[in-house]
């Protein structure tokens, strides 16, 4: 087990995090760390708070208690301006892609570039073409999100998330709504991006095949115990399950027989 003290290599530290909606506590006392360049999978049953944890990590929800640190600096306690600055180093791929529907794909990708870089319009066009080519959507610059398929929207969302070469990429259920081939292609893409760009990757999913394919480290959120009950490599977890709920999750055991 790695300790939760931040060192030079630790990228994300979650310490004693408690998540709540009003009075209702979803998860309490979450502790884990993610190293630079690691792929972390947040897994657990439906409704256990996986996506809620992601929303905490990217600053869309404030923790009820505890802290989240990036490179040893508290994200929760920093000022709004500092948070905004940190957000620029994040790329987030939402479940449905969340492309801005009133803008074309190229305008979607251009927006962060226009906001945060001093590139000229022609340079921006070149970057857009490169990012779209990276996700296999070269030539789709002038399409609106409503004109392309769900899988393509997701890939376009990924191109937008990567626009500013983020240090951390967050994925919310990347395989949801994709056919097996597209979803395994997306898994490959995630790994390639990590290997070539060195980004840290955080993925929320309950897709077992994805979990085993991409995760360096996984956290299991137990809906019954309302906390994290397993931390480590999913293949190790499968070989030597730390508890019964994890074993049942990883082996699709519904417990009826």
């Amino acid at each position: 087990m790695k300790n939760s003290q931040s060192n030079g290599k630790t990228h994300i530290t979650v310490s004693h995090l408690e998540m709540a909606y009003g009075d209702f506590v979803v998860m309490r006392d979450l502790n884990f760390t993610v190293e630079h360049g690691e792929v972390l999978v947040i897994m657990g049953g439906s409704g256990c708070g996986k996506s809620t944890l992601l929303r905490h990590l990217i600053g869309l929800k404030e923790p009820a208690k505890g802290d989240i640190l990036y490179d040893g600096q508290s994200f929760v306690q920093s000022s709004l301006e500092e948070q905004k600055k940190k957000l620029r180093a994040f790329g987030v791929l939402y479940q449905g892609g969340a492309l801005w529907s009133s803008m074309t794909l190229s305008e979607n990708i251009a927006l962060p570039l226009e906001e945060y870089t001093k590139l000229t319009p022609s340079e921006i066009r070149e970057v857009i073409a490169y990012k779209l080519a990276l996700v296999g959507l070269a030539g789709f610059e002038e399409f609106y999100p409503s004109e392309i398929s769900g899988g393509m929207r997701k890939r376009a969302g990924l191109a937008r998330a990567m626009a500013l070469d983020p240090e951390i990429l967050f994925f919310d259920e990347p395989s949801a709504g994709l056919d097996p081939i597209s979803s395994s292609r997306l898994d490959d893409l995630i790994l390639q991006l990590r290997d070539s760009l060195g980004s840290t990757v955080v993925v929320v999913t309950h897709e077992l095949q994805s979990i085993f394919a991409i995760a360096d480290k996984a956290v299991f959120l137990d809906v019954e115990k309302r906390t994290l009950t397993a931390l480590g490599n999913p293949n190790d977890m499968l070989r030597d399950p730390p508890n019964d709920n994890v074993r049942r999750f990883l082996t699709r055991d519904s417990g009826t027989d």
């Binding site: 209702f24 957000l87 620029r88 969340a98 529907s101 945060y116």
Partner: protein
């Protein structure tokens, strides 16, 4: 069709210390679900009955109707400590029954509002409304901070969106504004014709129309049209952006949705509403002039001279100021309801409805307040 075959039949027979239920006929939802009174009356006060068993071989057709009945009997048995002989049921019924009982009913789910006594409900509602009120105030504050930031040149501004919204709320609204203000001018002049003719004062219809359109109806009718047309559109647009996580995507990119979405809309309405109100004034006065000519035989020069004698520049500016205020109200209520929208499809509809209702209510209230202030200062 044989009506006997379409019937749901059950008979209760006493057999030793058990009740034997003979089920036959058709047990489908369309035939209704029988009460279990007969079972209750056969077991009431007779402690000797220890259980219920079934005879189902004569059932000719069944669906969830039969299952619902069986679950009713099962619940009755559990409540009264009777033995429910599940083994006497055919395999498929037995399996379905087991499936429906596999996960026990969850206790303590009663977290929904609206339960409990009157005080409890009133308390919950007050807390909810207070929360909404706080959110509205902080939203309005954020909007003004954002506008200030723009004035100081500190914030990037989406000029393209701004012009697009200007066209949407301005030029595209002209036909409906023309129609409504034409009809309003017509209504006022009819009113004037009926009332003023009695006193032989029909010349003053120009006074009524000029005063009414410029001070009240021009801005008010435009405000109400825009609340229905644009306020609802804003709420629905922003609400569906929220449902599809587009607003979240802006936030996590470090872009404030207020700067990006709300401000262009607010500024566009801020500029276009007074212009629309002036346009409505002109159309209304023009239509009043036409009606006065045809109904009261007042020549155009007489009408115009009479009107310009009565109304002055302050009347005109009062209408313009009202237009500006109503524009801000429509923009803020539409954007606020959109941003406060929930995460499901039906909450988008609710947001749009609520934006219109809030917008129109606030416009009427603001109109009364402005009139009152104008009266106090003698404008």
């Amino acid at each position: 069709m044989d009506s006997q075959a379409q019937k749901t039949i059950f008979k209760v027979e006493r057999k030793g210390d058990k009740l034997l239920l003979h089920l036959s006929g058709v047990w489908k939802l369309g035939c209704g679900i029988p009460d279990i009174d007969a079972i209750e009356s056969s077991t009431d006060g007779k402690a000797t009955v220890k259980g219920i068993t079934f005879e189902t071989s004569k059932i000719s057709g069944w669906d969830s109707g039969l299952m619902t009945f069986l679950i009713k009997v099962l619940n009755y048995c559990q409540a009264n400590g009777l033995d429910f002989d599940q083994a006497s049921l055919p395999d498929n019924l037995d399996r379905l029954l087991k499936l429906s009982q596999a996960v026990p009913e969850k206790e303590g789910l009663g977290g929904h509002e609206g339960r409990g006594n009157l005080f409890h409900r009133a308390g919950i509602a007050s807390i909810h409304h207070f929360g909404e009120f706080k959110a509205s105030v902080s939203f309005v504050g954020e909007c003004f901070l954002s506008a200030l930031g723009l004035l100081r040149g500190r914030r990037p501004f989406r000029w393209r969106d701004f012009f697009l919204v200007m066209q949407e709320v301005g030029v595209d609204a002209l036909p409906i504004v023309s129609l409504i203000s034409f009809l309003v001018g017509l209504i006022i002049s009819f009113l004037g014709a009926v009332v003023l003719l009695r006193f032989g004062a029909e010349v003053y219809v120009s006074y009524l129309i000029g005063y009414g359109m410029l001070r009240e109806m021009g801005a008010l009718m435009t405000g109400i049209i825009m609340a229905g047309r644009t306020g609802a559109a804003f709420a629905a647009q922003i609400g569906s952006m929220k449902v599809s996580e587009e607003i979240d995507a802006l936030r996590t990119m470090g872009i404030s949705p207020i700067d990006f979405i709300v401000l262009p809309r607010m500024l566009a309405l801020f500029l276009m509403m007074p212009l629309l109100a002036i346009y409505a004034d002109i159309v209304g006065i023009f239509s009043g002039m036409l009606i006065s000519k045809s109904l009261l035989d007042i020549a155009y020069p007489i009408f115009l001279n009479g009107m310009l004698e009565a109304v002055a520049l302050p009347d005109f500016f009062l209408g313009v100021i009202k237009g500006v205020v109503f524009g801000v109200i429509v923009a803020i209520s539409g954007c606020l309801k959109g941003m406060r929208c929930g995460n499901s499809a039906d909450s988008v509809g609710l947001a749009a409805t609520s934006a219109v209702v809030t917008g129109i209510t606030c416009i009427i209230i603001a109109n009364a307040v402005i009139d009152w202030i104008a009266a106090v200062y003698g404008i």
